[in-house]
Subunit: 410 residues, 2 copies
């Protein structure tokens, strides 16, 4: 086996993106034991930081040791019992993922769908909730497959006022786009570390409130082999179907009880903690503004090049800019050249949009002006080489002007 | 938030143990995209190395992005359908975990139990299989809670000859104790990275053969949003209950089809790859011998100190030495002093053995003579400070003699 030395890439996809160098350094810290007081203190501090990340006062806020979808599955399988009615408003691929998870939990899943590229007027969702009367409404906040951002607050308020649960997939938005768990009445949420948080993939910060906890706790089963006699005698017929993703067990592990569950992923926790430190040093609001400013530069550059933005609406997801692939251009060929010749990675999309759009992310540490220049010049060069007459030099000059105020001499 | 700087620990527990410094360095490599050809090549090379680790020719051998129990749950929830009869022979805490997971998959779980500290004569298990006729027999190979090692080959041979499935939890043994997946007729297996593999917790290498795959494939459901029309029309009533841990989906992601599932945990894969490289450079057989030699030094040192080994049988798990806590000694106090004063971590156990034994691991990178000296002298010092008259100096001198051949002058 040869030593693995990764190439240096400029990653401008909707994730995984470049991890902050401080996070990469933190990953190489030596291991300490999971019940070492230094480690349990780190767990506690991380919980506090996850609360601040989601802007929540919830007691429960910690990472799941798995990639983003493990966080959503933990939330959903801990809340959903077979037969529960779940509404999933879908406006892209990751909405389907929520139906997929809910179905596997035995839910009776109902969907409403928007054409890809659009989002829901909150009223459409609340009307459907009224009609259907679901126990849970589950929705994606930032849909990376289409580059769209769903407004949540009015849906959350309605769910709360009618005592229903509202759960949100915030994988693509947390740490980069405005997201207010408590203000928006979100009962349970899951994020991902490999996008705007700028850590490696493999950890999913989640949070849930006491309303969600109450539902889960009715189904609690402490693990055999470590449970007490009293717990042994409890009724386990409604138990949560996963052991690994059972939030009632995980919260015992993350609480002073420290009831052994899995062995916390040490290095990934180091990474998450440092990611959150970086975010707090920058400040959440400043960070969101930074993402917006790079989005503007990318969008202006793309237009200056002579291309069209696919998701150019008020509901555009700020951290993903989708670009319509011009007719007769080899979509995959352009991306391949960008990667192989220029070391720049962008993405295409899924389903109906596969091969139709390019998706340019600007997330976390990847949202830097050097990267914006790099992706614009590489895309222009690859387009020219593929026979598309992009406006030469215009994209980078436009971005340069936005960043520096300097105009190219005529 | 303060910068987190972990203390330097000597970790002599049954895991998580010290990661190899080369693995820690690999963790800090920059991120690359999950469909970057350099990354998919790394995935392929890792699969090959996982095959060699388990000594198997199976096509499917890859890590689950979660801690060890996520690997066992992936195997079990992909194989078990509601109502399936599953036999779990239990000889410690982690046997209970297997029942817990199987029950949550809807299995009809049957157990046979040995008193903690013993293992099964394979005949006892095969007799029960004959009587019960289970679809699956699931067992732990190395039970860290009791420090016992279960012989597997005769059980595996019987299951194969009668066309039943045999699945094994090899979390504690893989990479440190003899384990031969194919020769022992194991159909599916899961390991952990934070023990003898000497990586961080958070990744679980698994493998399964074509017999296991056939059972899973009957239940296959490609994810909505990325499945084809033909796949859409398939019968999904028997689908696997987890999306995240669905091996039929994961194998499509790990195959040339590269069907998108989760975003592979980049840094953890870097770590696993480097761990496996370290193992191959040492050689599996040499590595197993190394673990045995350190076990001998620890055991001899413990006895020389005047203590009793709890699991001193032919079925002792070589990588975990359990020590009976002497009467009237403050079990937790001794461990606390070892950690706080000497930076050395050992463990107690669970259930009936909690507070009754200390468990001293010697796994992976932690299985080094410096660590053996360190744990022996720290345990001796803490025992003396807690009023137990250990034989002063004898433990380290005994180990020193074994490592160097030099006897302390009288």
């Amino acid at each position: 086996m040869n030593r693995f030395i990764p190439p240096k890439r400029t990653i401008m996809t909707p994730g995984p993106v470049e991890a902050d160098p401080r996070v990469l350094q933190a990953l190489s810290n030596p291991i300490i034991g999971q019940f070492d007081p230094v480690f349990t203190d780190l767990m506690n501090q991380t919980m506090e930081a996850v609360r601040r990340l989601f802007l929540t006062d919830n007691q429960w806020a910690f990472p799941i040791d798995g990639t983003s979808r493990s966080g959503m599955e933990a939330v959903m399988c801990s809340l959903i019992e077979p037969g529960d009615k779940v509404l999933v408003p879908i406006f892209g691929r990751f909405g389907y993922l929520l139906t997929e998870i809910a179905e596997r939990c035995g839910a009776s899943v109902h969907v409403i769908e928007k054409p890809w590229g659009e989002v829901f007027d909150p009223q459409e969702v609340t009307d459907e909730i009224k009609r259907l009367n679901p126990k849970i409404t589950a929705i994606v906040h930032g849909e990376t497959s289409t580059g769209c951002l769903q407004p949540l607050k009015d849906i959350g308020r309605f769910c709360r006022s009618t005592d229903r649960l509202f759960i949100v997939d915030a994988v693509a938005t947390v740490g980069g786009v405005e997201l207010r768990m408590d203000d928006w009445y979100i009962d349970a949420i899951a994020g991902g570390t490999q996008k705007c948080i700028s850590g490696p993939s493999g950890s999913s910060p989640i949070s849930y409130n006491s309303r969600a906890e109450k539902v889960m706790q009715e189904r609690k089963q402490v693990e055999k082999g470590i449970r007490s006699e009293k717990e042994d005698a409890a009724d386990h017929s409604r138990r949560i179907q996963s052991n690994y993703l059972d939030l009632t067990q995980l919260q015992d592990y993350w609480s002073p009880r420290r009831l052994n569950h899995h062995t916390e992923a040490t290095s990934m926790l180091y990474a998450l903690y440092e990611s959150l430190r970086v975010i707090e040093e920058e400040g959440l609001e400043a960070r969101i503004s930074r993402h917006l400013s790079h989005e503007k530069a990318i969008a202006a550059g793309i237009k200056a090049m002579g291309l069209t933005i696919y998701n150019d609406h008020s509901w555009k997801l700020p951290v993903v800019t989708c670009v319509t692939v011009p007719d007769h251009v080899d979509e995959a060929g352009v991306r391949r050249m960008m990667l192989e010749e220029f070391g720049v990675e962008i993405a295409s999309s899924f389903g109906p949009l596969q091969g139709k759009i390019w998706r340019i992310g600007a997330m976390g540490y990847s949202a830097r002006k050097e990267n914006v220049y790099h992706v614009l010049f590489a895309l222009e060069a690859a387009l020219l080489a593929h026979g598309f007459e992009a406006n030469r030099g215009e994209a980078v000059q436009t971005a340069l002007k936005m960043y520096t105020g300097v105009t190219a001499s005529a």
